[in-house]
Symmetry: C2
Subunit: 302 residues, 2 copies
Amino acid sequence: MSTIQNFDQLINSLHKRQIHKKVAVVCPHDPHTEYVITRSLREGIAEFLLFTTTEHLTYVERIKMLFPEQVEIRLATDGDDAARLGVTAVREGEAGVLMKGTLNTDNLLRAVLDKQHGLLPPGKTLSHLTVAQLPGYNKVLFFSDVAVIPRPTLEQYQAILDYDLKICRHLGIEEPRVALIHCTEKTNEKFPHTVSYAALKQQAIEGRYGKTYIDGPMDVKTACDHHSAEVKGISSPVTGQADLLIFPNIEAGNTFYKTVSLFGQADMAGILTGTLAPVVVSSRADSNESKYYSLILACICE
Amino acid sequence: MSTIQNFDQLINSLHKRQIHKKVAVVCPHDPHTEYVITRSLREGIAEFLLFTTTEHLTYVERIKMLFPEQVEIRLATDGDDAARLGVTAVREGEAGVLMKGTLNTDNLLRAVLDKQHGLLPPGKTLSHLTVAQLPGYNKVLFFSDVAVIPRPTLEQYQAILDYDLKICRHLGIEEPRVALIHCTEKTNEKFPHTVSYAALKQQAIEGRYGKTYIDGPMDVKTACDHHSAEVKGISSPVTGQADLLIFPNIEAGNTFYKTVSLFGQADMAGILTGTLAPVVVSSRADSNESKYYSLILACICE
């Protein structure tokens, strides 16, 4: 399988692989979530288990009326109960993906992170992976972490790399090119993240991450633009053609995410990683398209 | 004077105000610096004092040949000496702007930051201001700090605000709208920058910064896009129409800078602030246009 260049190819890949998962949705009580569900049903890419409350039952029944065979509704006492029930459905293998509706992200995460009944196996790290389709970049661009880990430790960077590289390879990128992002090009005690980066690069050389190119610190332009790298006199298998950007902290990651969305006309998909199954927790400000692509990404990931 | 919407208006404003400064350039030994100098000379916006070394004299003399009246060449023993001489010319009022050529930024900064003979008055904080002209945004966008202060303290944020607000107002923005950028909207001990932000907002209410609206923490989309702010249910005189973005750390600032440059087709200008006179230290990867706009910005600032 060749590299994914855009989201249409991602959707095609889902069809070709004949993946057809059941998705547990917690509180599908808004037009955006409804859009994602009904579009997925129309395109035949998934089935749904909808967790709702009595007061929103009428809203959710409209969806079921259109696709009675592919949609099942389950009643919860409130939003938190819906979250617990959704998580349990995924834990017990009834559903292969968990998706957030109108519930607050923190409330969903409480159920996901519950030590006894949640979705994060012991010893696993919760993180987040975003994929962007950017006009002007010749392939989709993966990046972490824009949403979960404020300031990754070396161990957390390792976990992020493990998750992200697995997904990149699953999507056909055999030797992912990973740029460790910073404003400096030098390892510098003044910037502790760059010290972790040096350790990650050494581990990569020792084979810790399999077939991959890991390089940095370097800035976003050096990572994604050959000309900028040339001007700086930097050249590696990563510069100008990164598949995956690892950001030093959540502020930088989130800034990239919001900036390519607003000023770069990017379409985006995002999922939580480290969990037993992919979890979709789109932000309220994400477009309907982005929410749909997030579900596609969640469905295609193992 | 009305708000500046793009760099053409900035150039016009320079002409209207009949500003004509002398610019000290350290090591103008590359085609990019030469472009900025000759374009400025052709457009009659500045005169130049060029600090060079014997080995590059022939290169620099080509510039003087074209504009013998507006260009003066001074010989230095090496790059560091050229930096010291350039700084001295600004200190002693011979030149009103300092500009870096091919010299390494660190070497220029050493001369700028020299306690006895440099350009940073005692008690002042060195920082950096960028201005971007972004397709899709209806005015130029100011932001700090993408280059100098890794993780501003409260005192450093105060200094940055003082410098940036002064420049915004000088350029005609009477009540600058300032967004304090973060991935969260809440003040949270887990993110120490947001605690500083709360203090800055309180100071603004108490009048510390004059006429201005300061709000945050908020993300880049909330700051620059009305629709995103609406979806999040946030509304203030800042949301969707920020003039100035203050980034929590240099990694986030630099990521914004590189991302709007690469994926947002932004034109940009940048200067050091806090110094006796504006200093232009463009990055090697900046376009010729950006380098030229940086000089314009430096010339127009007091």
